[in-house]
C-alpha cells in the first residue's frame, strides 16, 4: 500500500498496485493506481466531499460508480483542456491528473453560496417563473446573471480546444451495446455464427457487473470466463471489441452513434492522435445489453456524502479494492442489495445494520446477520445525520412506528434496478411496466434492435447469459449468418425479490434529482400546481434535465408523482427518451471540420500562381478567389482595385474565371433542351457562336444566367454563375431525367476540366496575337463579337476562345485543360508584358460589371423577374420554356415593380453604400415609403465617383429623379440620382471594336 491511500485494501481488485499514479484534487496531492477511476482513487484516499450541488450548494459525495453519476462532477485538466462536468466515476486516473470541484466559492469546504439553502423556500420548483417576474427589465440585467453565478456546473475552458477529433464509419451485422454477461454471450453467439460484430463497452475493462459482482459461469470464476470469452472473440477476424466506447444513439436505417474516448485516459493525446472519435455504425441488427441502473430510494438527507448506491459500494470494494466506509449500513428493499453486506463482510468491514423495507428476509441472510453480529431492521431510513465530512448516524423508522438509530460512516442504498431502456426507446418507444420487478422494460425497439439481459429486465446471471446468447444468435441469423453458435454459457440465477419503495416521508430535504437539486416536495408542489403530466413535471421542476438525464432519478420522480396524484406508475408514464445516452462533445461531432477545415475548399487552376503574385483571396462559396493583387506602396484595397480597372480599360488585364460552372450539353436534342430551360432560343444559335442566356425557376423568377456556346451541331458548352454551378447542374439533370426524358441529351459537368481566363481591354487582341498561332484570324471579321471556337496556341496546345465581355471592353475568354491553367497565367504575363498586362481580381471584375450595368448575384437574388433586370425582351414568344407561364402572373408583371436602375450620389464625393433604402424626396423613411434599395456599389474609376445599381420601384421611368438613400444601419441619409444602369460605353462600341 502506498502513501495516503488509507481506504485501500491490501489485496484484490482490478488495480495494478505496481503502477502508482499521482494526482491532484483541488490542489491537494493524492495517489492511486492504474485501473482506478478518479472516483475510486478519491474513495481510496478517504475523500468523501467532491462537489457542491447545483442550486443549494449542498455538499455532495460520490453516489455511483458509472456513467449515471449525478454528483461527482469535476473540472478535469487545466487551461485549454479544462473540461467541466466530467464524471469522476468514469474518468480514468492517469499520472499527473488534475481535477477541481465545481460550483463552490471560495472553496469546497467553505462555500458562501451554501446560504442558498436558507432561502430554499424561494428556490422551489419553477422558482424563476414565480420569483423574478417584476420588474421585467430586471430579468436580463440583474436576476439572470445573479442566478447564473449562483447556480450552475463547471466552467468551460474558454479557449480553443487544442485536440483533434475524428469521425469514422463502421459496418457490421450485429452491434452490441455493453459487455456484461449478456453482451459477451451475444457477441459469442453472433461471432461464432460468422457475423461481423462490433461490441461497444463504455468502460475501459470488459465484463460489466461481473467485474464487481463476480459469479460462476460454466464452472469458471467470472474473471476466468470473461478472459476466456474475450480471447475467443479476439481470435475471430470479424469481431471488433471497442472499449471506452458508448453507443449513444440509434438513427434511421440501422445507423448507430457511438463515442470512443480514445485518449481521454491520458493527460493529452499522443502526437498525431485524436482525443475522441465519433463512430457512425451501420448495423443490420443491434443487441442492447446495456444493463440496468440501480435506483436510489428518496429519503431525507439522501444526498449526504457517504450515501452511495449499494452496487457502487460493491464496485469500489471488489473492483477497486477501495472502501467507501469502515462501518456500513445498508438500506434495501430487495434481495440484491444484500450482496453489499456480503461484500463488506468479505472485505473485513463492519456492517452496522441492514435496514430492509421488505416484510421478510431470507433465512440465509438472517444467518449472515447473526454470524456478522449486525441487526436487521425492518423499516426505512428516514433521516441522515451528517454533513460535508460524511454520514455519522442514520435514523430508521421501523415497521410498526418505532424509531431506531444506527451509527455508521457509510450508507449503501438499493431501491431495485431500472433496465437501461434509453436505446430501445429513442424512436419514440415507450417502455412498459413490469410489476414483478417494479421497473420499466423495453416494449419493442427500433427496427433491428432487441434488448437482452438486465436491459430487458432479466436480472439473474443465468438469464442474462441465456437472453444475450439467444439474442446474439438470432441477430446473426437474421443478418444471414448461419455458422455454429456452439454451446451457451450457463450460470445459476439468483432469486430476486423486491418490495417497491420510492420515497420515505420525513423531515428535511429528500432529493429525487441530485444533479438538479429537485426534491420530493418539488414533485409534490408541481402536482398541486397542476403540472401532473410527466412532460410538464420534467420542465417545471427540471427533473431529469441535467447532464445525467435523470438516469438515477426519473423513475423515482414519476413514482412520487403517481403516488401524490393517486395514479399507478404506468398510468403516469414516462417522458420521451432522446439520444445521446451520455453527453457527447460537440468537437467530436465536428471531427476535422473546424477552423479553416470547417468545409472543403476549392482552388482555381491559377491559385498558386496568384498566391505567388501576392493576391489577396476571398472566400466565394467553397472557392478561394483572388480578390485583388496589391502592389508595393498601395495604401488600401481601393487603390489596388482602381489601378487594376484603369489598367484594363486603358490596356489589357486578365482574370481567372474558372469558377464559373461549365456543363457539356451533348446530343441531337441539345438545342431543343436548351430552348426549354432558357427563356431565349438556343437551337437557332450557329455553330461557332456564343449567346447570353437567362433561365427561370418554375415560378417565373430568374434562376441563373451565363453564356452558352455551340461548339458542334450536337454539342453546346453552357456556363453558369459561380454561386449556382452545382444547383444549375442539378436543375438541368432534373429537367433531363424527369421533365423531358423524351429528349436525347446528355449532360456532363466540365467545371473542373477547363481553366478559363477573361482577357479584357483595348490591347487584348495584341496580347492574343502573341500567344495564339499566327494562322488564327483574330480580326473583327475573323472572330466577331460572340464568336466561339477552338484555336491553336503557339507550341501546339489547343484552346477554346470565346469573344464575350463582362467588363464592357474588347475581351475574350480563353480556356485550356486545367493542368495547363498555371502555365496559361504565366504565359499571359509573358505575352502581355509589352502591353502592360495586369492581373485583376474579383473586385475589379465587379467594378467593371457595375460600370457596365451587368446584373450579378445581388440582382439575381431570387425575387427578380427577367423584366425587373431589364431583360424582359429576351423572353421568347415563339416557344415554351420553364417559368414562362408563372412569369405572366399579375404580381410579376405589375407596373410598379422594383427594377434595376443606376444610382449615383448627387454629391460626387459621397460614398454610396449597398443596402441603403430608396425613399422619395420629402417623404418619411419607413415601410410605407420604401421604394427599393441599393444592391451593388463600387467606386468607378471612369466616373471618378461612387456608383451603384439598385432595385427601385418603376426605376427605369424615373431616370434623372433625385431620391433619398436612407441607411439607418450606418446612420446615413443622402440624395442620389436615378440614372441609366449602363454607366460606361452605353452603345457597346468598345466590346464590339
Amino acid at each position: 500500500m502506498r502513501g495516503n491511500q488509507a481506504n485501500r485494501l491490501n489485496d484484490g481488485g482490478l488495480i495494478d498496485r505496481s503502477a502508482p499514479l499521482n494526482f491532484r484534487f483541488d490542489g491537494k496531492a493524492f495517489s492511486g493506481f492504474e485501473g482506478d477511476t478518479l472516483a475510486s482513487a478519491l474513495v481510496a484516499n478517504g475523500v468523501k466531499l467532491v462537489g457542491r450541488s447545483f442550486k443549494y450548494h449542498r455538499p455532495r459525495g460520490i453516489l455511483t460508480a458509472g456513467s449515471e453519476e449525478p454528483n461527482a462532477l469535476v473540472e478535469l485538466r487545466s487551461g485549454a483542456r479544462r473540461e467541466p462536468n466530467t464524471k469522476a466515476t468514469t474518468a480514468e486516473l492517469y499520472e499527473g491528473l488534475e481535477a477541481a470541484s465545481q460550483n463552490r466559492w471560495p472553496s469546497l469546504n467553505f462555500d458562501v453560496m451554501s446560504v442558498n439553502q436558507l432561502f430554499a423556500p424561494i428556490f422551489v420548483a419553477g422558482f424563476y417563473y414565480k420569483t423574478f417576474m417584476w420588474p421585467a427589465k430586471f430579468w436580463e440585467a440583474i436576476y439572470e446573471p445573479a442566478i447564473r453565478r449562483a447556480a450552475g456546473l463547471g466552467r468551460a475552458a474558454g479557449l480553443s480546444d487544442p485536440d483533434h477529433y475524428d469521425k469514422v464509419w463502421a459496418h457490421c451485422d450485429v452491434v452490441i451495446a455493453g459487455s456484461g454477461p449478456a453482451g459477451l454471450a451475444a457477441a459469442l453467439a453472433a461471432g461464432r455464427s460468422g457475423a461481423r460484430v462490433i461490441l461497444c463497452e463504455e468502460d475501459f475493462v470488459l465484463g460489466g457487473r461481473l467485474l464487481a459482482d463476480g459469479g460462476t459461469i460454466d464452472g469458471l470464476s467470472a474473471a476466468e470466463w470473461v478472459a476466456r470469452t474475450v480471447a475467443e472473440l479476439e481470435a475471430l477476424p470479424d469481431v471488433r471489441i471497442m472499449t471506452r466506447t458508448t453507443l449513444f444513439g440509434v438513427y434511421d436505417g440501422g445507423t448507430y452513434g457511438a463515442i470512443e474516448r480514445v485518449n481521454d485516459h491520458l493527460p493529452a493525446p499522443p502526437e498525431h492522435q485524436v482525443r475522441q472519435r465519433l463512430w457512425r455504425i451501420v448495423a443490420k441488427r443491434c443487441v442492447v445489453a446495456a444493463g440496468a441502473i440501480e435506483r436510489p430510494i428518496v429519503f431525507a438527507g439522501n444526498d449526504t456524502p457517504g450515501v452511495m448506491m449499494a452496487s457502487a459500494m460493491r464496485s469500489y470494494i471488489n473492483r477497486y479494492a477501495a472502501t467507501p466506509a469502515r462501518r456500513i449500513a445498508l438500506f434495501t428493499n430487495n434481495e440484491d442489495g444484500w450482496r453489499t453486506a456480503e461484500t463488506a463482510i468479505a472485505a473485513g468491514l463492519q456492517v452496522a445494520a441492514v435496514i430492509d423495507a421488505r416484510p421478510d428476509v431470507s433465512p440465509a441472510h438472517r444467518s449472515l446477520a447473526s454470524k456478522g453480529g449486525f441487526p436487521v431492521l425492518h423499516g426505512s431510513v428516514s433521516g441522515v445525520d451528517g454533513g460535508k465530512s460524511g454520514v455519522r448516524k442514520i435514523s430508521v423508522s421501523l415497521t410498526g412506528g418505532a424509531r431506531a438509530e444506527v451509527e455508521a460512516d457509510g450508507l449503501a442504498v438499493s431501491g431495485g434496478w431500472n433496465p437501461a431502456v434509453g436505446l430501445t426507446s429513442y424512436h419514440r418507444g415507450r417502455p412498459k411496466w413490469r410489476d414483478d420487478i417494479a421497473a420499466f422494460v423495453p416494449d419493442g425497439a427500433p427496427p433491428g434492435m432487441v434488448a437482452a439481459g438486465a436491459a430487458n429486465g432479466a436480472f439473474g446471471l443465468g438469464a442474462c447469459l441465456r437472453e444475450g446468447f439467444e439474442a446474439g444468435a438470432t441477430a446473426a441469423r437474421d443478418a444471414g449468418r448461419s455458422g455454429n453458435t456452439g454451446s451457451m454459457p450457463v450460470a445459476d440465477d439468483a432469486a430476486f425479490s423486491l418490495t417497491p419503495l420510492w420515497h420515505v416521508a420525513g423531515k428535511g430535504k429528500a432529493f429525487v434529482d441530485q444533479q438538479h437539486d429537485v426534491t420530493a416536495s418539488d414533485v409534490e408542489l408541481a402536482q398541486r400546481e397542476g403540472f401532473q403530466s410527466v412532460e410538464h413535471l420534467k420542465r417545471y421542476t427540471t427533473l431529469g434535465m441535467a447532464t445525467d438525464q435523470g438516469k438515477t432519478s426519473n423513475v423515482a420522480g414519476l413514482a412520487i408523482m403517481a403516488a401524490v396524484s393517486g395514479k399507478s406508475i404506468p398510468e403516469t408514464g414516462t417522458t420521451i427518451y432522446r439520444p445521446p445516452y451520455v453527453p457527447v462533445a460537440i468537437g467530436a461531432f465536428a471531427g476535422h471540420h473546424r477552423d479553416e477545415n470547417f468545409h472543403a475548399t476549392r482552388l482555381t487552376p491559377s491559385h498558386h500562381w496568384a498566391a505567388e503574385q501576392g493576391a489577396i483571396f476571398v472566400d466565394t462559396g467553397l472557392w478561394k478567389r483572388a480578390q485583388w493583387y496589391p502592389r508595393a506602396g498601395e495604401k488600401d484595397w481601393l487603390e489596388s482595385v482602381t489601378r487594376e480597372v484603369k489598367a484594363v480599360r486603358s490596356g489589357v488585364g486578365f482574370c481567372d474565371v474558372s469558377t464559373l460552372g461549365k456543363i457539356d450539353v451533348h446530343g441531337p436534342d441539345a438545342g431543343a433542351f436548351l430552348d426549354r430551360v432558357y427563356i431565349n432560343a438556343f437551337s437557332s444559335l450557329a455553330v461557332g457562336k456564343a449567346r447570353y442566356g437567362l433561365m427561370l425557376r418554375e415560378d417565373g423568377i430568374v434562376y441563373d444566367d451565363g453564356t452558352t456556346s455551340r461548339l458542334a451541331e450536337d454539342h453546346y458548352f453552357l456556363t453558369t454563375t459561380t454561386a449556382k454551378a452545382g444547383l444549375v447542374m442539378q436543375h438541368l439533370e432534373f429537367c433531363r431525367q424527369v421533365l423531358f426524358p423524351e429528349l436525347d441529351v446528355q449532360l456532363t459537368s466540365v467545371s473542373d476540366q477547363w481553366a478559363q481566363f477573361s482577357i479584357a481591354g483595348p490591347k487584348t487582341r495584341d496580347l492574343l496575337k502573341e500567344i495564339v498561332d499566327p494562322a488564327e484570324d483574330l480580326s473583327n471579321e475573323g472572330f466577331p463579337f460572340m464568336g466561339a471556337r477552338e484555336v491553336k496556341l503557339r507550341g501546339g496546345l489547343k484552346a477554346r476562345l470565346f469573344r464575350i465581355s463582362f467588363s464592357g471592353e474588347m475581351a475574350f475568354e480563353i480556356s485550356v485543360p486545367a493542368r495547363y491553367g498555371e502555365a496559361m497565367a504565366r504565359n499571359l504575363m509573358i505575352a502581355g508584358k509589352p502591353f502592360g498586362v495586369t492581373p485583376y481580381g474579383t473586385e475589379a471584375l465587379g467594378v467593371m460589371r457595375i460600370e457596365k450595368g451587368h446584373v450579378a448575384g445581388p440582382e439575381l437574388n431570387g425575387t427578380t423577374t427577367a423584366a425587373d433586370l431589364g431583360l424582359g425582351k429576351m423572353m421568347s414568344t415563339k416557344k415554351d420554356f420553364i417559368g414562362r407561364v408563372m412569369a405572366g402572373r399579375e404580381a410579376l408583371t405589375a407596373l410598379n415593380r422594383q427594377v434595376v436602375v443606376g444610382i449615383k450620389p448627387t454629391d460626387k464625393a459621397r460614398r454610396l453604400r449597398s443596402g441603403a433604402h430608396i425613399i422619395p424626396k420629402g417623404e418619411t423613411p419607413g415601410p410605407d415609403n420604401d421604394q427599393g434599395y441599393v444592391t451593388s456599389v463600387c467606386f468607378s474609376p471612369v466616373l471618378d465617383q461612387w456608383i451603384g445599381l439598385g432595385l427601385v420601384e418603376r426605376g427605369r421611368e424615373r431616370i434623372g429623379e433625385i431620391v433619398r438613400a436612407h441607411d439607418p444601419l450606418r446612420g446615413e441619409d443622402y440624395d442620389v440620382e436615378l440614372c441609366n444602369s449602363v454607366f460606361y460605353d452605353p452603345d457597346g462600341g468598345r466590346q464590339r471594336g
Binding site: H164, D166, K167, V168, W169, A170, H171, R196, D238, E271, H272, Q273, R280, V282, H592, N597, H599, A600, T601, R602, L603, T604, P605, H608, L622, W623, S658, D664, H666, G667, P668, D669, D714, H715, L743, D744, V745, Q746, T748, V750, S751, D752, Q753, W754, A755, E770, L793, R794, G795, L797, P817, A818, R819, Y820, G821, E822, A823, N827, I830, A831
Partner: protein, 207 residues
C-alpha cells in the same frame, strides 16, 4: 517572339510533399498521386445503351460495367459512373477523347475529364481504417472486392472510388476527385491518416 512553355501541373503539385508524414515508424498508409492520365466520360445516347455496350466490347474487348464496378481492359479501366455511363481511364493517349470519338459515334456522348480529376491511390495496412473516416462505403473485403466501385462522397466532395488489383497482398483503393477539390481532400486524408504514418509519393504509372 516570347517563349511559351506549356508545362502541365497537377492540382496536387504544391500540396504533395514526397516522403513520410505523421506518425513515425512503419507507415500504415501509402498515398500515391497518379499523374497525367486520360479520362473520358462515356454516356449512352437515348436508347443507344445496347449500341454503346457493343462498341465498348469491340474496342476494349470487355463489356462496359452495368453495375458499380471497375472493369480492367488490356490498357484501360472502365469505371461505372451511373446508369448507362462509365469513365475510361487510360494513359498515353491511346484512349483519349479523339481516339474514342469514332468508336462511340452515334451511340454515346463523350466528355473529356482528363484534367477535371486528380487520381489518388490508397493502400497499406491502414487503408480501410483511413477510408472509413472519409467514406460511408463498406470496404470489408467480403463486400467491396477487387473491381468494386462506388460513386460517392468524401468530406462533402464527390469522388469515384474503386478497388484495384491487390499489391503485395494488400488492397489498393483508387479515388478520382474533382481537381479543384483535390488539395482540400488531400489535406483531409493526411489529417485522417497522420496517426498511422503515411508514405507520400506520386507516379506517372497506374498502381
Amino acid at each position: 517572339m516570347a517563349d511559351f512553355s506549356w508545362d502541365v501541373r497537377s492540382p496536387l503539385d504544391r500540396a504533395l510533399v514526397v516522403g513520410p508524414y505523421g506518425a513515425q515508424g512503419d507507415a500504415g498508409l501509402a498515398l500515391t498521386e497518379i499523374r497525367d492520365f486520360d479520362l473520358v466520360q462515356v454516356m449512352a445516347r437515348r436508347g443507344k445503351a445496347g449500341a454503346m455496350t457493343k462498341a465498348t466490347k469491340a474496342h476494349f474487348g470487355v463489356a462496359a460495367p452495368e453495375t458499380p464496378k471497375a472493369v480492367a481492359a488490356a490498357d484501360a479501366t472502365l469505371i461505372w459512373s451511373g446508369p448507362d455511363q462509365f469513365l475510361v481511364l487510360s494513359k498515353g493517349g491511346r484512349h483519349a477523347l479523339e481516339m474514342l470519338a469514332p468508336v462511340f459515334a452515334g451511340s454515346a456522348s463523350l466528355s473529356d475529364q482528363s484534367h477535371a480529376r486528380a487520381l489518388i491511390s490508397v493502400s497499406g495496412d491502414k487503408a480501410r481504417a483511413t477510408l472509413a473516416k472519409l467514406s460511408s462505403i463498406d470496404l470489408h473485403p467480403g463486400v467491396f472486392g477487387v473491381g468494386a466501385a462506388a460513386a460517392t462522397s468524401m468530406d462533402h466532395t464527390s469522388v469515384t472510388l474503386w478497388r484495384g488489383r491487390d499489391r503485395s497482398g494488400l488492397a489498393v483503393f483508387n479515388l478520382l476527385v474533382f481537381a479543384t477539390f483535390a488539395e482540400s481532400l488531400w489535406h483531409t486524408i493526411l489529417d485522417s491518416a497522420a496517426e498511422y504514418g503515411v508514405t507520400i509519393s506520386h507516379s506517372e504509372e497506374f498502381a
